[in-house]
Assembly symmetry: C2
DNA sequence: ACATTTATGTCAGCCATGTTGACTTTTTTC
DNA sequence: GAAAAAAGTCAACATGGCTGACATAAATGT
């Protein structure tokens, strides 16, 4: 398995270096990328939810979140039903930046899947899920499924209103 | 591809957390793990080779390397043909620790491959290679092949002498 | 009504690990 | 004998983790 251990190291390093280059231009780092990514995937999420996903402390998150809000990449609105909550949304500016990250990382993955054969997508997906700690798997898969559904719902709504 | 982007994040986080727990007991971090791993794979490698693989600065490496040498995990010997070089070797202590990392990470990968079907190993391998920047692929694959061959050569030598 | 809990934010300081720049020593190479 | 290469070191700085302590606003329970 030594080869796969190392390939995972080299592959992941290149994978995260794509966003890194873009982030440099804004004076941001990887921490900012992660926040933007998950807020994009779960618009209106609470700060606590983000902490649970990232598994970092409130203080660590606070630093990068403040910069993202101050510089107009993220919008933080009080919750309607519970006004203690700060619900997080991307601004158009934040959305544009996040799309860059998604585009470049998707391109790398798509290329890799094409190069590794027809049925690779489902198999790679199963492999990655199985690499996650068993006790975290179902919550992780649910999280991803929820985000995917929300994307579908939003695009369906756009279809009805704007077209 | 959003699901795969996220699965890669979660999977890799768990993957590196295995060694992290062990390292804590020694007051070491991920940087120490990487150094031990590659010195294990390439016994007698030069400091420069390690810098090329890790892509960090001499100063960053210097800190962790000094700790590993001082605490008897790594042995640094002057090269025979070129005495400017410091050739790096694991001590028995370093070897024992490194085997722990390899064992726990191999176990996770093996389990994941089993859970994702029979032919997954070769496909996952091809996928990971294809995730690497094209210009780095051949050197990376050569590096891994060289390390694998060296392992074989050493175990063959053990077979002839000790058994 | 009042006490408690929850969600969030913030200050201060520490640690690990990356960076740049400058400089030294030893040894090899031309 | 000069230049280049391999390695090491000092100093200073950035990022992004961490702990601990504390503050505020709002919801919840009795």
């Amino acid at each position: 398995m030594l080869d796969l251990i190392e390939l995972l190291f080299f592959a992941y390093r290149n994978f995260v270096s794509d966003p890194d280059e873009i982030l440099q231009g804004f004076g941001f780092g990887r921490a900012h990328h992660r926040v933007l990514h998950f807020v994009n995937r779960h618009p209106g999420m609470r700060v606590t939810d983000l902490l649970d996903i990232l598994r970092i402390t409130k203080q660590s998150l606070g630093r990068v979140l403040r910069e993202l809000v101050d510089q107009g990449f993220i919008d933080s609105r009080a919750g309607a039903s519970d006004r203690r909550q700060r619900l997080l949304y991307l601004t158009p500016k934040g959305e544009a930046l996040t799309q860059e990250f998604v585009a470049i990382q998707s391109r790398r993955i798509r290329r890799a899947l094409e190069e590794s054969g027809g049925e690779s997508r489902e198999l790679v997906r199963r492999f990655l899920v199985a690499m996650i700690d068993p006790e975290d798997r179902s919550s992780t898969e649910k999280l991803i499924a929820r985000a995917d559904q929300a994307v579908e719902a939003r695009s369906a709504a756009r279809g009805r209103t704007a077209g």
